[in-house]
């Protein structure tokens, strides 16, 4: 046999398993326009829904007149809160333990809020219907500033909560207050601050932005009145959780709901939440007996479905005069908008903000977060982020720079002397986490050497002198960042969403001829799961990745899982995949031993087969074993070859990275040019280097947008100022920097294959890196802190305030 002359390395290469840059199986469809996204779904008799939205940020809804709308040709129904109330669906629970209006119930709390839902034969008739609905509003005083929202005489936003002094996360101390969340040792931290050689204090604001996947949110709800079964296709990052939530709030038995996430055109956290469009579409399908599609417009998307960040982080960092950090204090005011719809694990109302000690060995720390209501859209989603890790990383990486200024130290050196050392892992952080593994110093030195750090500093100093001599108007900024992520939520003992433990799952079936299908509880939105998860299975059980079909997103067929966000797919579902594969391998071993007539312990796994120990010429390939499992009665072994694993991770994983950016800044116009961006990521074991690199490029580009111009902005009346792509900054290929990627590998000790996850690292790491570059350019002139986004006029303002325009 040809097979026998192949070396193990050759056989291994055929599998396209872990570590190889396998081309993506998804791409054959996508490159031909054969994807199947929600808006591609067409069903017989399908209707379209569209919303009447509030033009006011805060107003009483006095009346809604639907008569003219109902007279529009093609309009079949107009739903208002009054129609939903008898069903108990005019409000819905949020993921954060609050509740949210599905349709305006007496008042509106943000501009763009859903007021009425028009159902029509097509989107044109629906739009005409929306235009014909007449709503009478009485405007109310608007609060857009989270600090003013806490004034004693601030307008009451949530009248429905009147008198409620206890919220989902403890006491409420004001009518616009949601929760206070405290971590760490306040007294010890304040004592350290009081006695420290040096304390740097700064307000660090991470502004409001939006994930803006290229595909907006949408769904198709189809209630089959004959079978009583509801099928819901949608842009859901967590289809199983959506099914459970839909069952709980609608009263439809869970087995009668089938949720399907088809192809998703990017998610980035935008598609985790449950939105009024989904609820109204379900109700409309029940009422009309027909399938109902709702796909939001881009304006709807930017105005109403979610936002991210909006954290005002007041920080104090204490250190010895030599630069050894002795304590960290942070008080955050979190602007949650009109409803608390943040997508965080239940016990973490501020997500994993308590990873804000970052990569540093900080003996004591204290964190408090106050959540506040304002007249802005609800959301607070994890935009390419594991639950506020982005905010935490930005906070600590800015505070390090601020401290470096105070100490008059080089910021690279300050990081170096404060990193958690390799031998300290597993490391217990002052705010309660156990970092699994890391080697920060190695990564840091590799990064500094790769960019020629000392040379860059010399060049920067020369440029500064030339600037002072009037020979140039461009400064150089060198942005440094070393971030530590916390991903893979998470251990069921402390991570759940609405009571659903955050495990994940994989089921693998081997077919008689040796090919396979695997189904997972996650759902790809571009991450390439169909490619990478097959690679894990290929390496674990020796079936070529090309012979493995991968399915996700259909709750009728896939095992239950909590979905894809927070970089959790590889840490959790990837582990479940490896564990399910190992169950199969264990059974395969028994079958192989039986076929080879030796004891189970006398065979060992060798790439794609089990061989008799010491007699490599005697083996059974996985193909042979698969067939045997279906056609031979093996004593003591059930027929078939399949397994399922529900994986509850013992800990989170802690990917990290070192990023360095060099930026040229035009002092006169505020324009910038990114000269180079170096990204070193350590995500543990690398499954597909090509896909990892692609994730880094994409995440860093989202980070570039956020740092350099992207924001969700409101005026004082609560008018949304960035509702189209004219003003909401999404860079084109022209503005986007070129990236150099690099890596180190520090496997996770508790993950079955040592992988940590990477999708979000580049967003977490790049934002402080770009921002630090801007700050660094102006450091010689005394700049300490300036808020993002660093668009042209804000950079210009820095220079103006520093007197650099003469």
């Amino acid at each position: 046999m040809k097979d026998e002359v192949q070396s193990p390395e050759e056989r291994s290469a055929t599998l396209k398993g872990m570590g190889c840059s396998r081309k993506r199986v998804e791409d054959v469809r996508f490159t031909q326009g054969r994807g199947n996204y929600v808006d591609d779904i067409k069903l017989d008799g399908m209707l379209t829904g569209d919303f009447v939205r509030s033009p006011y940020a805060h107003a009483r809804v006095l009346s809604i007149d639907t008569e003219a709308a109902l007279a529009v040709p093609g309009v079949l129904a107009v739903l208002t809160a009054k129609d939903l109330e008898p069903l108990g669906l005019h409000w819905m629970p949020t993921l954060a333990g609050d509740k949210q209006m599905v349709l305006a119930d007496g008042k509106v709390l943000f501009q763009g809020q859903e007021v009425a839902y028009v159902v029509a034969t097509d989107r044109y008739a629906a739009a005409d219907g929306v235009a014909a609905v007449e709503v009478d509003y009485e405007d109310l005083p608007v609060v857009t500033d989270p600090f003013k929202a806490m004034d004693p005489d601030a307008p009451v936003l949530r009248e429905d909560l009147a008198g409620q002094t206890e919220g989902a996360h403890g006491p409420r101390r004001h009518h616009n207050h949601i929760f206070t969340w405290e971590q760490g040792d306040k007294a010890a931290t304040e004592a350290v601050l009081a006695e420290a050689d040096v304390v740097a204090e700064e307000m660090v604001y991470y502004h409001r932005t939006h994930p803006m996947p290229l595909e907006t949110c949408g769904c198709v709800a189809s209630m089959d009145k004959v079978t009583g079964k509801l099928t819901l296709w949608g842009t859901f990052q967590a289809p199983h959780a959506v099914r459970t939530v839909a069952s709980l709030i609608s009263g439809i038995a869970e087995h009668n709901i089938r949720v399907i996430s088809p192809d998703i055109g990017g998610g980035f956290g935008n598609k985790v939440g449950v939105y009024p469009g989904y609820v109204c579409s379900i109700v409309a399908s029940i009422v009309t007996g027909k399938p109902v599609k709702w796909v939001e417009s881009r304006m709807d998307n930017l105005m109403s479905t979610a936002f991210a960040r909006d954290y005002w982080m007041q920080g104090k960092i204490a250190a010895t005069k030599e630069g050894r950090i002795t304590g960290l204090w942070c008080h955050t005011t979190a602007d949650h908008g009109g409803f608390d719809a943040c997508a965080d694990p239940t016990k973490f109302p501020a997500g994993f903000m308590n990873i804000c000690t970052g990569s540093y060995d900080i003996p004591v720390a204290y964190l408090a977060v106050d959540g506040v209501y304002t007249n802005k859209a609800p959301g607070g989603v994890a935009y390419r982020c594991s639950f506020r890790v982005t905010e935490a990383a930005y906070f600590i990486e800015r505070m390090i720079e601020v401290l470096a200024i105070k100490l008059n130290m080089d910021a690279a050196e300050l990081r170096r002397i404060n990193f958690i050392r390799k031998e300290q892992f597993p490391y217990q952080s002052a705010l309660g986490w156990e970092y699994d593994s890391g080697d920060y110093h190695t990564a840091w030195e590799k990064a500094l050497n790769a960019v020629g750090y000392d040379g860059l500093r010399r060049e920067q100093a020369e440029r500064l002198e030339a600037f002072k001599r009037g020979e140039t108007r461009k400064l150089i900024g060198i942005g440094l960042t070393h971030f530590t992520e916390i991903v893979g939520a998470g251990p069921v003992k402390n991570c759940d969403i609405l009571g659903l433990g955050m495990f994940d799952s994989c089921e693998i079936r081997i077919h008689p001829t040796g090919s396979a299908i695997a189904r997972l509880g996650t759902i790809s939105q571009g991450q390439g799961h169909a490619t990478t998860f097959a690679q894990i299975i290929a390496s674990e059980i020796g079936i070529p990745a090309d012979d493995i079909t991968l399915e996700e997103g259909d709750t009728d067929t896939a095992p239950y899982g909590l979905g894809t966000y927070g970089s959790r797919s590889t840490p959790v579902a990837g582990a479940a995949t490896a564990m399910a594969a190992r169950k199969i391998r264990a059974k395969a071993q028994m079958i192989a031993a039986y076929l080879l007539e030796v004891h189970d312990d006398d065979v060992e796994f060798d790439v794609d087969r089990f061989v008799v120990k010491g007699a490599p010429e005697r083996f059974k390939t996985m193909k042979e074993i698969a067939f045997a499992s279906y056609n031979q009665a093996i004593p003591g072994v059930e027929p078939g070859l399949e397994a399922v694993s529900y994986y509850d991770p013992p800990n989170m994983t802690y990917p990290f990275g070192a990023y360095i950016c060099v930026m040229e800044i035009d002092v006169d116009t505020g324009e910038h040019a990114v000269r180079s961006f170096y990204a070193l990521d350590d995500c543990g074991t690398r499954i597909n280097p090509m896909i990892i690199e692609g994730q880094v490029h994409g995440g860093a580009t989202e980070g570039y947008a956020i740092a350099m111009g992207q924001e969700i902005a409101y005026d004082e009346m609560g008018n949304h100022k960035t509702a189209t792509l004219m003003d909401f900054f999404v860079p084109t290929a022209w503005e986007t920097p070129h990236y150099t990627t690099d890596f180190t590998v520090t496997p996770s000790p508790h993950h079955p294959i040592g992988a940590k996850g990477v999708g979000e690292s580049p967003n977490v790491g790049s934002v402080p890196c770009f921002s630090n570059a801007v700050h660094d350019a102006f450091r010689p002139f005394g700049l300490v802190q300036s808020h993002m986004p660093h668009d042209h006029w804000r950079i210009w303002k820095i220079a103006e305030d520093l007197g650099l325009h003469v």
Binding site: A127, D668, G670, M726, W734, D791, H792, E800
Partner: protein, 277 residues
């Protein structure tokens, strides 16, 4: 983002187009490339019942250069303008500016006529045409007339064109050979309108300076041109700063825009001077 209903017309000649305009008054609008009008219709901010598509009217197409004048049919797209080598040689300022407008797809559809006729203060071509001292030919029931670009713009979206006229041609005097030129534009990204943009011509017999998106109309300043012609760059900048009236928007506050206007203008002047033969 769904427009209200309308009737569609695709006349084959100008007379028919004007007849339709006359028949429906202000309920009718002409559409060229549509990349200004159609987004407004989708937002239901442009209210019309009759849309007159000019694509079939041959008289609105073509680029000719003769007797010191370049004539651009109003339906000339930005892409066609960029690709026309003769025009690029005669008036390189046009190509330099057009390449900074919108993005490739929009330049394939967007027309010079639409860009100048719409009266949108964000558009680049109006200021450019004022700098070049172009004339616009208007066709209406009363026949044709010409209006100087420098007299055309009255306020945002208000121009000297009546609702019953169609802008048919843009006539641009070809600058003397050796004239220095530059179009400098600061914007947040590809596809954005200008934070500030400046068109500059410096010849042996004079200079012309115009700026874009810094007022509710394009700003051409005779005083600025005169100063520049005499070599007084600071006088030119000062005159222009006195003439602009920028508004705060997401691009930045007024003080920033004024500062940037001066910087961009100086850059355009430097560039134009370096190109002057």
């Amino acid at each position: 983002m769904i427009p209200a209903g309308f009737e569609y017309h695709r006349p084959a000649d100008l007379a028919s187009a004007v007849d339709i305009l006359r028949a429906h008054g202000d309920e009718a609008r002409v559409v060229a490339g549509g990349h200004s009008l159609i987004p407004m219709m989708k937002l239901r901010m442009a209210d019309l019942r009759h849309l007159i598509d000019l694509q079939a009217i041959g008289a609105l197409k073509g680029i000719t250069i003769a007797e010191g004048t370049a004539t651009l049919g109003a339906m000339t797209t930005q892409h066609e303008l960029i690709e026309n080598a003769d025009l690029a040689a005669a008036i390189p300022l046009l190509r330099e500016a057009a390449l900074q407008i919108a993005d490739p797809q929009v330049r394939y559809m967007g027309t010079v006529g639409g860009n100048v006729a719409n009266g949108d203060p964000g558009n680049d071509m109006p200021g450019l045409m004022q700098c070049l001292d172009a004339r616009f030919e208007l066709y209406g029931a009363e026949g044709t007339r010409q209006v100087a670009a420098r007299d055309f713009y009255e306020a945002a979206y208000f121009t000297a064109r009546s609702d019953l006229e169609i802008l048919t041609k843009i006539l641009i005097p070809v600058p003397a050979s050796g004239t220095g030129y530059a179009y400098a534009k600061q914007k947040r990204k590809i596809g954005d309108y200008a934070t500030a943009a400046a068109a500059v011509l410096i010849g042996s017999d004079g200079a012309s300076v115009a700026m874009t998106n810094l007022s509710d109309t394009p700003v051409w300043s005779e005083e600025a041109g005169t100063a520049l012609a005499s070599g007084d760059i600071e006088g030119c900048v000062a005159a222009m700063l006195a003439a602009i009236d920028p508004q705060e928007d997401m691009r930045g506050p007024i003080a920033f825009k004024k500062h940037v206007a001066a910087v961009i203008l100086r850059r355009a002047i430097d560039s134009a001077l370096s190109r002057r033969a």
